[in-house]
């Protein structure tokens, strides 16, 4: 099945998200779609999967024009999408999620789960998508949840699969497995549209690459002939500098001292097991580790959002183990939450409101009991400009920003104020190469001003790029420490330790 987008334009009010886009998707091929944050990739794919009506332009399937009235039409025509943010019911089983909306039913409208389960098993068999059909979604790692999303689309017999930033939340091993799946799908004649910000991934897996900038396709190419710098330049329109400038390592006194910390998960299992670490002013400590080894609990405990079962957290000589998030905030501790959608932003609030979500209560934004909105709007506009948060105005709803721009909004909010310590979870998730370099430079600037920083990231490359010291976390403990100023880093070795080799 050959899909052609002809002259697609999509407007949201005054914003032009896509402008005269022409794109062809051939069966059995992986089309890589690359572009800056807010370039219009998700919007274009939402048009293709029937979620948005194009303002102008047409879609052709095998040279016949089609019009989709909703995603149901698109999936019946064989086009299915796995969205940037998953859409599974957490308390349902895999099989239940897969059949949701197209349930096979027996007599008297009885839900025929046996057939559903068999179908899920057949699909996982055919394409190498190992999942247990009876597992409950919320108990599964993200990588597996993603397979469920893919099975869901295959179950509806899609021939074209759109995958919007599928690898953003995957561990390196999961990415390898994911690529295997993509290859087997292609062999079966499916067409894949693959969106990512990771240039090495797109070079590895795509058969063809199209680059989109400010809503328009600005170039296409063969991954065998393109290099990372060339791609990056095509994306942003000028050469990109990947290296972060780094002042010499000059740590000062210990600012955060975590001693014998034990933290439990919601249901009582141990998340952090008697962990100790120190962060000094003027240094960046990176926490490396495979997701699910207690990193989230560590961040939440340090931000005051999760109760500490035992142990002590001292900040600048003061015991802060049990003080409120607001009190920590007042002390100059900033926190970039891992999950921007759920915890970092309020989608229906404006960009400006989100920009002051945790600073609205004090000067300069509050005047007595009221908020000085004039001041808020002016400041938000300045910070958005400085951090290149692409939004039509500070009055736009945050939910209407592109995924990467939502992330930039959260990071901008936390880094733009006066801080002494920064806790950041996945600070550059979903950002394009230029934005990553910019955020890394901001983190570095905070360090050079004397802040302590604790960065958690599942991207080992990111941790290695910014950290002065690297701590590897495994099963709730720190199992190894590396310092590039002492010995050069060995990525392979760190990877092994992350997988549990030192434990």
């Amino acid at each position: 099945m050959r899909v052609e987008l002809k002259n697609i334009t999509k407007r949201f009010g005054p914003v032009i998200a896509n402008k005269g886009v022409n794109l062809t998707i051939e069966p059995g091929e992986v089309l890589g779609l690359l572009g800056e944050n807010g370039a219009g990739k998700s919007t274009l794919m939402n048009v293709l999967c029937g979620l948005y009506d194009p303002t102008e332009g047409e879609i052709f399937i095998d040279d016949k024009p089609v019009v989709f009235d909703g995603p149901g039409d698109a999936i019946r025509a064989g086009i299915g999408m796995v969205h940037q943010h998953f859409m599974l019911v957490p308390v349902f089983s895999v099989a239940e999620n897969v059949v949701l909306g197209v349930e096979p039913t027996g007599a008297l409208d009885h839900l025929d789960l046996a057939t559903a389960r068999a179908e899920v098993e057949r699909l996982s068999e055919d394409y190498g998508l190992a999942v247990d059909p009876d597992a409950i979604i919320e108990t599964l790692p993200v990588g597996v949840q993603q397979r469920v999303e893919i099975i869901k689309v295959l179950f509806r017999s899609a021939d074209v699969l759109i995958l919007d930033e599928p690898t953003a939340v995957l561990t390196p091993q999961e990415v390898d497995e994911f690529f295997q799946i993509v290859r087997s799908l292609c062999e079966a004649g499916k067409a894949i549209v693959f969106i990512t910000h990771k240039l090495n991934e797109i070079l590895e897996i795509s058969d063809r690459i199209s680059v989109i900038r400010r809503g328009e396709i600005v170039g296409s190419g063969d991954p065998k002939e393109l290099t990372r710098p060339e791609l990056a330049e095509m994306m942003v329109g000028h050469p990109v500098d990947f290296d972060v400038a780094r002042a010499p390592y000059a740590p000062r006194e210990v600012i955060l001292d975590v001693a014998d910390l034990t933290v439990l998960r919601d249901h009582g299992a141990v998340a952090i097991d008697n962990l100790s670490l120190k962060v000094r002013s003027g240094e960046i400590v990176g926490i490396a580790g495979v997701q699910g080894n207690g990193q989230s609990a560590l961040i939440e405990a340090l931000a005051g959002l999760r109760r500490v079962a035992s142990g002590r957290v001292t900040f600048d000589g003061t015991d802060i183990t049990h003080i409120s998030p607001r009190a920590r905030h007042r002390m100059g501790i900033a926190h970039v939450p891992e999950d921007r959608q759920r915890a970092g932003l309020i989608g229906n609030f404006t960009v400006a409101e989100n920009m002051v979500l945790d600073t609205y209560y004090g000067p300069p934004f509050a005047k007595g009991a009221s908020i000085d909105w004039g001041r808020v709007h002016a400041d938000a506009a300045r910070v958005a400009e400085e951090y290149d948060v692409r939004t039509p105005s500070v009055f736009a709803a945050a939910a209407h920003l592109s995924g990467g721009n939502q992330q930039k909004l959260v990071v901008a909010r936390e880094l733009s104020r006066d801080t002494r310590f920064v806790i950041a979870g996945q600070p550059t998730r979903g950002l394009d190469v230029g934005s990553i370099a910019f955020i890394h430079a901001q983190l570095m600037a905070a360090r050079d001003e004397g802040d302590g920083l604790l960065i958690v990231s599942s991207e080992l490359d990111e941790i290695m790029a910014v950290s002065d010291r690297i701590l590897v976390m495994f099963k709730g403990r720190i199992v190894a420490e590396y310092a590039p100023h002492i010995a050069p880093l060995d990525k392979g070795e760190i990877g092994l330790v992350m997988a549990g080799a030192a434990a």
């Binding site: 009506d53 920590r328 609030f349 979500l357 509050a366 105005s393 736009a396």
Partner: protein, 369 residues
């Protein structure tokens, strides 16, 4: 999906708000009147009478000075209680308890008014109003506290508190401190003149009931607007209602927000009760709340939990109530029909997609922005 997407698409121009606050309710109203006519026709009312009754509806709500006075009188408590509910909804609290808060606030205002009867009006009236507001706040605060501390859902607890308030009213009305001297039935002492909300237009006609409560109501619309959209507290309410997790991550105190939102909602409902006892009824009797707290839920929903919307919705409901009485007098249509029309309006408003499907030309087309 497309329609939902449309609703959240673009806020910058405020077009969505206009649709929500004005166009949807307007069409809902028209559709409800039409269905109301069908219901009348189905019950054997002939066409002339149906026409006559709608004329009466207009006449009785805005057709004369007295009609306007009645509309405003009926609207004031609905707006006051509706504002409180709207604040709660914004904070993510589904408070069903305005009725009980109206009862407790209204009764407290009478008690305080009687106690302050010898003071000049400048002390007695504010004192009585304040007593109503504080009692409402306290009564709603119980539900807020239960929710914040024990997790008891406010829908259940406020329904129970409503039931308790009815019985408590009956009981208290028979206690010597409150019961009117020389009466055996449950009825309170009369509110002394100093604590009454003065009638405004008696110099034109002694029967015009509109009273100073409408100024209180307008002031509260402004206060609620300020609170919701200009104050720190309102920012916290809205954040908690939109995304409680993000609010917590931003360092807002969820328990405090819940308790304060409930208490302020209760204060406004208490004022609605005080408005009735001090401005209209002159005393408290069993059932004096007359379902205001329940109608106010509809007013808050119809007003889209926006103070200005609540004001408009309250005026509409007030007009329906005043006009309904006239319908009954002029055309002999049952007052129940008014209840049916009110209910139909609520159904239509609760289903904006239905309204948009019925009147597609009234709304923006998908994609054109």
């Amino acid at each position: 999906m497309n329609a939902m997407d449309k609703a959240t698409q673009w806020r910058l121009l405020g077009r969505t708000q206009v649709e929500d606050l004005v166009i949807v309710p307007l069409f809902a109203f028209v559709a409800a009147l039409f269905l109301g006519a069908l219901v009348m026709a189905a019950t054997g009312v002939d066409l002339a009478v149906i026409g006559q009754s709608y004329v009466a509806l207009v006449k009785g709500s805005v057709g004369s000075l007295n009609a306007v006075s009645e509309t405003l009188t009926a609207a004031a408590p609905l707006v006051l209680a509706g504002l409180g509910l709207a604040l709660g909804f914004r904070a993510g609290l589904f408070n069903i308890g305005a009725e009980g808060q109206v009862v407790m606030g209204g009764l407290a205002a009478v008690v305080a008014g009687v106690a302050l009867g010898d003071f000049p009006a400048i002390v007695a009236l504010p004192g009585a109003l304040l007593a109503g507001a504080l009692t409402g706040a306290f009564y709603a605060g119980i539900a807020g506290w239960l929710r914040a501390v024990t997790g008891a859902h406010e829908v259940i607890s406020t329904i129970m508190l409503n039931l308790i308030s009815y019985r408590l009213l009956d009981y208290l009305l028979r206690t010597p401190l409150i019961q009117k001297e020389g009466r055996a039935d449950p009825i309170s002492k009369s509110v002394p003149d100093a604590a009454e909300l003065p009638r405004l237009l008696t110099f034109i006609d002694a029967n015009l009931r509109v009273h100073a409560g409408i100024f209180l109501t307008l002031a509260m619309v402004a206060v609620a607007y300020w609170l919701l959209f200009r104050s720190k507290l309102g920012f916290e309410f809205r954040a908690a209602g939109e995304n409680a997790v993000a609010a917590r991550f931003a360092g807002m105190n969820a328990s405090l927000t819940i308790i304060l939102a409930m208490a302020i909602a209760g204060a406004l409902a208490g004022l609605a009760g005080a408005n009735q006892t001090l401005g209209v009824l002159d005393r408290a009797t069993p059932g004096f709340s007359a379902g205001i707290g329940f109608d106010a839920i509809a007013v808050a929903l119809m007003g889209r939990s926006h103070p200005v919307g609540v004001l408009l919705a309250g005026l509409l409901f007030g007009a329906l109530e005043a006009g309904g009485r006239q319908m009954q007098v002029d055309a002999g249509v049952s007052i129940d029909l008014i209840a049916i029309i009110q209910s139909l309006i609520i159904v239509f408003i609760a289903a904006p997609l239905l309204v948009k499907a019925l009147f597609p030309w009234g709304f923006r087309r998908e994609g054109s922005g």
